[in-house]
Point group: C2
Chain length 406, copies 2
C-alpha cells in the first residue's frame, strides 16, 4: 500500500507535536524534565477521586456508565456556569459545553469557524497546540507582538483591517511565556472586540493558578462589562479545564460562549466523539461540587507552585549566564528563556539532553521564522531538589554554549 | 453578533443527529424507547469497575490521573492487539491506537483521508453517525445495495471504476439493518480490496455480540489471509470498541491498521484532544485483562440480548400487520423495519410517540432520497416486559396507519 499517496492534502500540513515527541525522550527517570506542561502528580487528590468514584458508582452507577448527551452532564454544566459567573455577568448552563479537555474545544472551534485561507490573529509567540490543530486549515496567521504585559493591544488596529475571522489568545499566564495581559490592555481589547464584533477565543487553562500580583478579570468578563451585558451573548468564546486544577487524566474541559456557538459546537461534538465520558463527568462533578475542597485544593497548588517558581527563578538568577533573559510569570506553569542571538535552542537542547535535562524549544510557538533562540521551562512538575539540580546543569550547558557558540 | 455569517462553509453541511435528538424526546420514563443503540444498563459490571478503579488508583494513582501518550496505554494496546490476533495474523501493539470511542476513530479517519469532493463507497443504508462526521467534507457517496447477506459485493465493480478514495462498512450486525456480510461475500470483498489497494474501514462495534448462526472472520482477517500476510500491513482499517461489550460511558475504542495509518492518526489525535483519558484506559485495562471475566461477561450479554431479540421478533410476528417486513439479525443491537410504500416512518413516529413508543426513522441512513418507509428498532436496552408492551403498541399504531395511510 502506498499510503502517502492516499492521505488528504491537508495532512501534509500536519506534523507531530514537538512537545509531545520531546516528552517521550524524557520518559527515563534520570532525565530532569522541564519540558512538559505537567501538573505535579504528587498533588493529585487521588484519595478524594477514589471516594468520589465509589460514591457515584454506588448511587448512579448504571447512569454514569451509559451513553449521555453531547452537551454534557447538566449538573456539571451548571457548576461550571456558576463558577464562571461574576458580578453582573450571570452565565446560564446552556452556555456551557463539556469537552474532552480544552484541546478538544480549541480543535472544535476551528471546525465551526475556519475556512481554508482564513486570517486569524494570534499572539506571537502563541500556543503550539492550537497551531497543531489549526494549521491544516491552511490559515493566514496575523501575529500581534507581545511584551511583559501580554499582547500589545495598540498594535491590533492594522491587523483588524485585514478582515480576520477569529482571534485566539491565552491572556493569563500564557503558554509559553507565562506573561499576563494587563488590566488596561484587557479594557482596550474588550472595547475593540465590541466595536468589531470579532470572535475572540480566550483560552484560559491556567487562570486560577496565580502566585503573585493582583488578579485581573477574564476578557470574557471585561467584554460583557464593557457592554453592560448580564448574559453571555458577546463575541468572547472562553475555554476552561480541570486539567491544571484537578487532574488532566480525566480530560474534562469546557467552552462558555453565546448559545448559537454552543449549539453549533454540539453538532461537531456529536460528529467527533458523541459526548465526553459520562464516567469522568460524574467523577469530576462529585469532586468539584464540594466548593470548599476544590478551593482549598487550588490554594494548595498555588502554594507549592509558587515555591517552585520562586526556586527556579532564584536558581536561574544564580546560575544562568548574564547574556540570557527570561520572563517572570505571576502564575501558570511556564516561563520563557531568550538566548543571545544567534544561539539556537534546539542545539542547546541536544547538549542539555546529554546532561539529562530537557526543555521545549519555542520556535514552533512563533509565527514566522523567529524564536529559534527561545525555549520554555516548566516549573510545576519537578520536585524542588530536581529543579535546583536541573537548572544548575542547564546553567553549565548555557555557559559552555555561550563561550563556544554553535 | 451575527454568528451564522461567521461559521465556516462546511458547517452548512452539518445537522444534528436525528438519533441523538430523538433520544432527548425519549428521556421520560413512561416512553418505551427502541430508538437508541444503548446497551442494557442493568448488565453493566458496576461492581467490577468499582473494584478495578480502586485497585489501579491504589497502585498507579498518580500515573492514571496524569497526561499520557497520544497512542494510548501500552498495556491496553497490547491487550487489544492480542484479542484481534487470530490464526496466522499476529497484530503488533504498534498497529493499535486507542480512541475516545469508535466514533472518534471514524471521525479521525475522515480527517486523514478525505479531500473535498472525494468519492466514498458505503453500504445503502449505512451508519448515520459516519455520515454526520463525513458529510461536511462534501463527499460523493457511492451506494452499494444490500440484502439479507449484507452488501451485494458483485455490484462493487462499477463503483470501483469511479476512483473511490475509501470504502466504509459495518460488515457484521450492521447498523441499522442488523444484517451480516456472508463468508462468501467477505472472501470476494477481500480479493477486490487486495486487487485495488482500496482502503476499507471495517467498523465493528457489534462483532462479539452473536446470538445465532456461524461466526465469520472479520474482513481484516480475511484480507490478510487472502494475501497470506502475518502482519497487519494491508488496506483494511479496523475500528473496535468496548462500548457494547463493557460500557459506553468510559469511551474506549481503538483502530487497528497498518503502521503508517496509525502514525498519521496519532498526529490527528494530538491535535484533536491530545490523548484518550488515561484514567479510563487504566480502568478498562484492569477490567479487560481478566480474560475469564470479560469472556464470561460477553457470554452473559449474548444470552440476555438473544432472549430480547427473540422476544421482539416473536412479538412482532404476532402483532405487526402482514404488510410490514423486517430483518432477522443473528447478532448486534438492531433490526430494521420496512413499511409498505408510500408510508412514511417519520409520520408513524409521531403516532408512536403519542402512544409513548419511540424508534429511529432510517431515511437519514440512506444515500439518495429513499428509505422514508424504514425505521430501526433496538432490542438490547428495554426489559422484556417493555419490549412486549412497546411492540404491541407499535403494532396497533402500524395497523391504524396502514388502514388510514398518511
Amino acid at each position: 500500500m502506498n499510503w502517502d499517496s492516499l492521505f488528504a492534502a491537508r495532512t501534509h500540513q500536519m506534523k507531530r507535536s514537538t512537545v509531545r515527541e520531546i516528552l517521550k525522550l524524557t520518559a527515563k527517570p534520570e532525565v530532569i524534565s522541564f519540558a512538559g506542561g505537567l501538573p505535579a502528580p504528587e498533588l493529585f487528590p487521588v484519595e478524594r477521586i477514589r471516594e468520589a468514584t465509589d460514591t457515584v458508582l454506588a448511587e448512579r452507577g448504571q447512569e454514569m456508565l451509559q451513553y449521555s448527551t453531547s452537551e454534557g452532564m447538566p449538573e456539571l454544566r451548571a457548576l461550571i456556569a456558576r463558577r464562571l459567573s461574576a458580578g453582573e455577568l450571570q452565565i446560564h448552563p446552556d452556555n456551557i459545553l463539556i469537552t474532552s479537555g480544552s484541546q478538544q474545544a480549541v480543535d472544535m472551534l476551528a471546525r465551526i469557524f475556519l475556512d481554508e485561507g482564513d486570517r486569524v490573529i494570534v499572539e506571537n509567540p502563541t500556543y503550539v497546540g492550537m497551531m497543531t490543530s489549526w494549521r491544516p486549515f491552511n490559515l493566514n496567521f496575523s501575529a500581534i507582538p507581545t511584551d511583559d504585559n501580554g499582547m500589545i493591544v495598540d498594535e491590533l488596529e492594522p491587523l483588524l483591517r485585514e478582515n480576520p475571522k477569529l482571534m485566539y489568545a491565552i491572556p493569563t499566564f500564557q503558554n509559553p511565556q507565562g506573561t499576563t495581559l494587563s488590566r488596561e490592555r484587557r479594557a482596550k481589547l474588550a472595547e475593540i472586540l465590541v466595536q468589531y464584533n470579532l470572535p475572540f477565543v480566550e483560552d484560559d487553562p491556567y487562570g486560577e493558578l496565580r502566585y503573585s500580583g493582583d488578579p485581573v478579570p477574564s476578557v470574557l468578563q471585561m467584554e460583557a462589562a464593557h457592554r453592560g451585558a448580564k448574559t453571555l451573548d458577546g463575541s468572547v468564546i472562553y475555554c476552561g479545564t480541570f486539567s491544571k486544577i484537578l487532574t488532566p487524566g480525566l480530560r474534562i474541559g469546557w467552552v462558555a460562549a453565546a448559545f448559537l456557538v454552543i449549539d453549533k459546537l454540539v453538532q461537531v461534538k456529536q460528529a467527533t466523539d458523541l459526548h465526553t465520558s459520562t464516567f469522568n463527568q460524574f467523577v469530576s462533578y462529585e469532586v468539584a461540587r464540594d466548593d470548599a475542597f476544590l478551593n482549598e485544593h487550588i490554594t494548595q497548588l498555588r502554594e507549592v507552585y509558587r515555591q517552585r517558581r520562586d526556586l527556579m527563578l532564584k536558581t536561574m538568577d544564580e546560575h544562568f549566564p548574564q547574556e540570557v533573559r527570561w520572563t517572570r510569570p505571576q502564575g501558570g506553569l511556564f516561563l520563557m528563556v531568550t538566548l543571545p542571538e544567534p544561539l539556537n535552542a534546539r542545539a542547546v537542547l541536544k547538549q542539555a539532553l546529554a546532561h539529562d535535562v530537557a526543555f521545549v524549544p519555542c520556535d514552533d510557538f512563533f509565527i514566522g521564522d523567529t524564536g529559534h533562540n527561545t525555549f520554555r521551562l516548566n516549573y510545576s512538575n519537578a520536585r524542588p531538589e530536581r529543579i535546583v539540580e536541573g537548572i544548575k546543569r542547564l546553567g553549565t550547558v548555557l555557559k559552555e554554549t555561550i563561550r563556544q557558540p554553535n
